[in-house]
Amino acid sequence: MGFFIHVTVSCGLMAMLSLGLMLIVRSGVYSVASAGFYLVGAYCTALGTLKLGLSPGFALVLGAVLGAILGIFCIAPAYRVREDRLLILTLGFAESLRLVCANSRSVTNGAMGLSGIPHFSLLGVNIKPGTIAFAGFVWLIVGIICLLLIRLVKSPWGLRIDAARDDRVAATSLGIQVARPLYIVHAAGASLAAVAGSLYAHHMAFVSPAPFTVVLSVFALCALLLGGRGSVKGVILGAILIGAGLPLLQLVGTPEYSASAIRQIVFGVALAVLTIWLPGGIGGIWRGAKSDRWE
């Protein structure tokens, strides 16, 4: 039962990460900084509750706000830099955040990590990690995000984002502001990742810099592309496949490192194969669209 809840929660967290990424990718920028914002949320919760004595709900909101600010900072050079260079910039940004946490030993306890993070509570209700209530809470947030995203895609605001992505010059000539939606979308995506990180910290009750490497961002990207970057249903399905696949693959390998190595091989190759042969993802199959056009 404990394992089942663990899998459910990690699917939910992966869904949050990849939905945030979906928002960012919709604006035309591929980012591999998700792990960085995930780390920001996790450390905000850990440090806020342990060192500053904040309430868990407040620490979560604080993490989301900080994630949003860092997200804007990360994407600020977007219009000056070519797309492929921007991807490497986001990669470097996330990795720098991790290095800062790994090396400021006096604050974050370095690679040893912080343990004993208190239970999550909201408005006085204590939601204990490892129970069905916690898993339900995580999926409740995922559900709300999904509803908002589905609304967003059809809204005028969503159409504006699409227009700015497809042809920046034409969009500007029609009087659509191009830069501001990009920043807002990126801030929202980053703060979603931070919320997921915060819940992760409560779920594990322990935070160390080790899991927040590029590999995690690649898993999130893999979930997004597996499901198809344009469809919310597809992304949720992709996140469930990856979120359940990771803990299940851990059961396969006996020594710890071979399990993580097998994961990297399986999902790394899957990502490459997906981009080459199935750019529309699973969502693309049931729409009957094989190309990587947007919905």
């Binding site: 219009y79 260079r85 490497i88 720098s96 190595a261 080459i276 990587d292």
Partner: protein
């Protein structure tokens, strides 16, 4: 501060040695990014794979060291060729992102495979050729034979590549494709052959870099990532300025990193590199020596 100033010459010498490695991997990246117009995120991983191949041949299969180097370098080249044919060629025309995303996946897959085959901990080459004894010492600067070999092979490879690109027919064809693909195609240059060839040469260079890196610092599966980032920085610094630009950029990056490490400590070493990258992309989005290509209207 006084200690730092005293050790400054040694830091700079160290930086030049590191910079030789960076310069070579940067050259390898530059060849690809100028010819195929894409960033190859597998550069560092290919280099490390080449080094592991050499390690496997020499330490585990019992070949003499010289033989395993001569086998491992072209094999890395062939590996690069396979990647080009299977991943980059079908994806290069689709979008800017597709090849990057696929390469990112393959990169972590390669790291996982190396981890599975050779274990996650750092391994060193057995020093069969006596490389480590120091040959020169001035104050705090100590040079081993390996350091000298490293800098010499940097100079040699750079000048060879420069000669090849500017004086031979094949090299000129490569430059022509880098400069204007359509025009070179209409002049009868076989584009795909040039792609394959540049990938083979660049990956062979990467193999040499990996072996040198492994001899100097030891090998671990994740080491390729740092090399890729540095190769990217150097290639974008050099822009279209070519081989000499990349060589200078590599040395400069090595010295900056080494001096910063001396000044501020080794913990944030990779962060300095990213900081250089961030500043670079803010100030010169198209590279230090690059041509300004107007892709977007400025908004």
């Amino acid at each position: 501060m006084e200690v730092f100033l005293k050790s400054l010459p040694a830091q700079i010498a160290n930086g030049i040695i590191v910079g030789a490695i960076y310069g070579l991997i940067g050259l390898s990246m530059l060849l690809i990014s100028n010819v195929m117009k894409l960033v190859d995120l597998l550069r560092g991983d290919l280099a490390i794979t080449g080094a592991y191949l050499c390690f496997w041949l020499s330490a585990l299969c019992g070949f003499p060291f010289a033989v395993s180097i001569t086998l491992a370098v072209p094999l890395t080249g062939v590996l690069g060729l396979v990647v080009e044919r299977s991943v980059y060629r079908p994806l290069a025309r689709r979008s800017h992102y597709a090849p990057l995303v696929a390469a990112l996946g393959l990169s972590i897959a390669i790291q996982g495979a190396l981890q599975l085959l050779f274990g996650p901990e750092m391994i060193g080459f057995e020093q069969t050729p006596p490389l480590l004894p120091k040959v020169a010492e001035w104050g705090l600067i100590r040079l081993s034979r390996l350091d000298v070999i490293l800098v010499l092979s940097f100079v040699l490879l750079t000048s060879l590549l420069h000669y090849f690109l500017t004086r031979t027919r094949l090299g000129l064809g490569l430059l022509a494709v880098a400069d204007d693909e359509e025009a070179s195609y209409s002049c009868g240059i076989a584009r795909n052959k040039v792609y394959s060839f540049s990938f083979f040469v660049a990956s062979s260079i990467a193999g040499i870099v990996g072996i040198l890196y492994g001899l100097q610092y030891g090998l671990e599966p994740g080491a390729g990532f740092g090399l890729t980032i540095r190769a990217f920085i150097i290639a974008s610094l050099a822009g279209s300025r070519g081989v000499l630009g990349a060589a200078i950029a590599g040395l400069a990056l090595g010295v900056v990193e080494s001096v910063c490490t001396g000044l501020l400590g080794a913990n944030y070493r990779d962060s300095y590199t990213f900081l250089v990258l961030l500043v670079l992309l803010w100030i010169w989005p198209e590279g230090l020596f690059g041509r300004i290509q107007k892709r977007y209207a400025r908004i």
